[in-house]
Amino acid sequence: MSEAVSFQKRAARRRWFLLTPALVVLLLAASGPLLIVVIYSFLTPGDYGGVVWEFSPNAWFSVVLERDFFTEQLGFADAHLSILWRSVKLSLMTAALTFALGFPTAYFIATRPAHKRDFWMLLIMIPFWTNLLIRTFAIMELIRAEGTVNSFLLWTGVINEPIQMLFTEFAILLGMSYVYLPLMVLPIYASMERFDFSLVEAGYDLYGSRWRVLRRVIFPLVKPGVIAGSILVFVPSLGAYVAPRVLGGGKQLMLGNLIELQFGAGRNWPVGAALSLTLLLIVTVALMFYVRAAGNEEGPGHG
């Protein structure tokens, strides 16, 4: 008996020992930095960046509130709130746009003959191998006033003067959608590849039109892929930095830029930390809602 117990104990100890690398990584790479961010958000900013070890809730206040410079009256921090709202809005739009483009793309690839699918996936992946900045500047080149699109439209006479596309929210949306499209296509494609297309035939056979088969048969079954894709696109969009910086031209800030500003020129690390945690909070809440809503959609029911 006691021998068996001690053997079990030893086995348990060995398991913990084998888990050490994972635990160290989790502690150092995930929990540790996060803890530092949490602590920093409750400290006082140093004069030249960094923090002074003095407790202060001010950083958290200034995430959504601000004290009027003259009257000292508390009010909502309009600048922060509008940036917050723009981030959420553009990220949702990016997820929607990449879905609208990515779903048909994934469907197209998944319905090609097996030996041709790799080729199409390669085409999706190739831009991904290029530097993010290069791709963003490429978009910039396309949509700037003297850029490819405007030049072409001017040349054909569709427009008389260039359309202002660069430095607008549209530009950011376009840039993020382009950059994150593969993140939507990949998971949808993965679930479509496992999808049994004889179910589509069964749907057609049972009087389902193309649209209804798509909605009632294909979509519910590839929904896990769509959810995964939406999350993969939404989360990095929310914290996007490069696209709003390059394509928004510093006028259309998003959360990522605001955070960078606090750590950089703003020299207010605690506010930066608080904003980072706000971002984390938004993502967590959004994901919880989304996953729950998506999971309940096709509930059980008769007929």
Binding site: D196, S198, E201, A202, L206
Partner: protein
């Protein structure tokens, strides 16, 4: 009534074009249990898919009660399919699966529910109504697939080897069940199988297919007793093939002479019989062992194989051909023959069938 009129289907993909259906014509009657029988790759499933609308024929016409089907997309054809893999919707319950076709037809909710309940009852799955399709057995999935295809009351039900995934015992039960459903619903069934026994037990008529062509159409008895050609005789059941001299043809009958010099009355092929060397088919159970003297075929007993219900006798004929003969066993029968015996084979009049070449 479904009329398939000179339908040809050629698949062009990578490699050489493949002719899956070659000028196939067949008329399937109202309320008939019609079977397409043939080896894999013979085109039977392609023909089914052409009727369902999943494949467009390269040439030819398909009409249902005089109306052209080819122009209609699958979801507008009053034809439903039971798929080989069942293709049940995994995200729906049994009841939702069965109701799917009715819902797509925008039938009123109350009617959908009523029909679903009837169908559940018809296939004896009422208790399983709210189960997910992954939570029921293969035989039950099969019944749900049937109910789902029958629920919208199609004019024609297409069944693509629906029993091939079931084990032997279940298959036997489902064969009877299918026959029952067909007579209860009065729907025309077109059944695809490569299993000759399944075809013989269930069908009103069978079309035997090979290499994209229909080789023979007829009732099970017709096909078995009077195969038109070597492929059909060989594919369905066991057959002895003998080369004989055709001496005379009178209507359905014919006289042939064996190498042994004996003559025998047999059945002539339906058309194109010419005198000279022909192939004669004799089923093993249609012949019997007899004494060598005066028998139409004589030879030496090579092997005796006991099968429980019957015994197979392998004989090498004097002319060198091999002949297998099957006799029903009786209780407590003692084996009167032994290997090496000289034996004769008795073939009753009008049992042998001369094959079209």
């Amino acid at each position: 009534m479904i009329e398939i009129d000179r339908v040809t289907k050629i698949f062009t993909g990578r490699g050489a074009p493949f002719k899956a259906l070659d000028d196939v014509s067949v008329t399937i009657r109202e309320n008939e249990f019609f079977t397409l029988l043939g080896p894999s790759g013979c085109g039977k499933t392609t023909l089914l898919r052409v009727i369902a609308g999943f494949e467009a024929p390269t040439k030819g016409q398909v009409t249902l009660e005089g109306k052209d089907l080819v122009a209609l997309p699958p979801h507008k054809r009053p034809v439903n399919t039971v798929f080989q893999s069942y293709a049940l919707f995994p995200h729906m319950t049994v009841a939702q699966n069965i109701g799917f076709g009715l819902e797509m037809q925008d039938r009123p909710k109350a009617e959908v529910k009523k029909t679903v309940d009837e169908m559940l009852d018809l296939v004896r799955m009422t208790e399983m109504a709210d189960r997910k399709t992954s939570e029921i057995s293969g035989g039950q999935q099969q019944r749900v697939a049937l109910a789902r295809a029958l629920a919208p009351r199609p004019r024609v039900l297409l069944l693509d080897e629906p029993l091939s995934a079931l084990d032997f015992k279940l298959r036997k039960d489902m064969q009877i069940e299918l026959k029952r459903l067909q007579s209860e619903t009065g729907i025309t069934f077109i059944f695809v199988t490569h299993d000759q026994e399944e075809a013989l037990t269930m069908s009103d008529r069978i079309a035997v297919m090979n290499a994209g062509e229909i080789r023979q159409i007829g009732g099970p008895r017709d096909i078995y007793d009077h195969p038109a050609e070597r492929f059909v005789a060989d594919f369905i059941g066991d057959t002895n093939f003998l080369t004989v001299d055709l001496e005379a043809v009178e209507g359905e009958g014919a006289t042939v002479r064996f190498a042994s010099g004996e003559a025998l009355q047999v059945r002539a092929p339906e058309s194109g019989a010419t005198t000279g060397k022909v192939t004669l088919a004799i089923r093993p159970e249609h012949a019997s062992l007899t004494a060598p003297e005066g028998a139409v075929l004589r030879g030496v007993l090579e092997n005796i194989v006991y099968f429980g219900t019957d015994t197979h006798y392998h004989i090498t004929l004097d002319a060198g051909d091999r002949f297998v003969l099957r006799e029903q066993n009786q209780p407590d029968q003692t084996q009167a023959r032994s290997i090496g015996d000289a034996v004769g084979v008795h073939v009753p009049v009008s049992v042998g069938q001369v094959l079209r070449d």
